[in-house]
């Protein structure tokens, strides 16, 4: 059941600069975590995606949120009830 999700996350982890991946459901509960991502990030990632969506109510697709810090960037996007957060080291 979860093998497709896990293989997609493993594939994503192979991408250059990716150090962590987290997928959550609509309730902010973690579906899968890998690398530097932790289950404690689940609620925050899901919450950020939901709040960002309120800024663009007119579009169907949810926006991509990018949080940048000196050491790591976090990209967040929701799709069909699942929110994905990708932790990347800045290039």
């Amino acid at each position: 059941m979860e093998s497709d999700l896990e293989s997609a996350v493993e594939e994503l982890m192979q991408e250059r600069g990716v150090v962590g991946v987290i997928c959550t459901n609509q309730e902010g509960l973690a579906l899968t975590v890998d690398g530097s991502a932790s289950e404690v990030h689940a609620g925050l990632v899901s919450g950020i995606a939901q709040e960002a969506r309120k800024l663009f109510p007119e579009i169907d697709l949810s926006p991509i949120v990018v949080l940048e810090s000196d050491t790591c960037n976090l990209l967040i996007r929701s799709h069909e009830g699942t929110t994905t957060g990708v932790f990347k080291v800045p290039s």
Partner: protein, 127 residues
């Protein structure tokens, strides 16, 4: 008619990817079917799950101002537990710590939805 072998096979399908045991139990805590770790351990888990469900179910009106308890998720030191009801029975999944709560909930609900039809028919036949 309930086919125990098929039921156990169905539960075994869910007992993958960090799920240690999948247990179907009566609301009084007695074991109906299970897949996963040892028989003795499953009986103990079933009894504890039933006890927790009953405790929340009997106090839910005062605590949450609602009539029905739908789901219990527990994050313990050594693993995670999900409990939900299917007609008059309880379904309990016990997983490793590494399994996400969201995945555990999704798997539990998927199995509960699949079993709901056949088990409610059985319930009507017995009643």
């Amino acid at each position: 008619m309930l086919k125990p072998k098929v039921l156990t096979e169905l539960l075994a399908q869910e007992t993958t990817g960090g799920i240690m045991s999948t247990i179907l139990l009566k609301s009084n805590g007695s074991l109906l079917a299970f897949a996963g770790s040892g028989d003795k351990e499953a009986r103990v888990t079933a009894a504890i799950a039933s006890s927790i469900w009953t405790a929340y179910h009997s106090n839910i009106k005062q605590s949450f101002h609602t009539e029905s308890l739908n789901f219990v998720l527990m994050d313990c030191d050594d693993g995670k537990v999900a409990i939900t009801s299917i007609s008059d029975l309880l379904l309990c999944l016990h997983s490793k710590k590494s399994v996400g709560l969201g995945l555990l909930k999704t798997k539990t609900l998927a199995l509960a939805k699949y079993l709901e039809g056949p088990l409610s028919e059985l319930d009507h036949a017995v009643a």
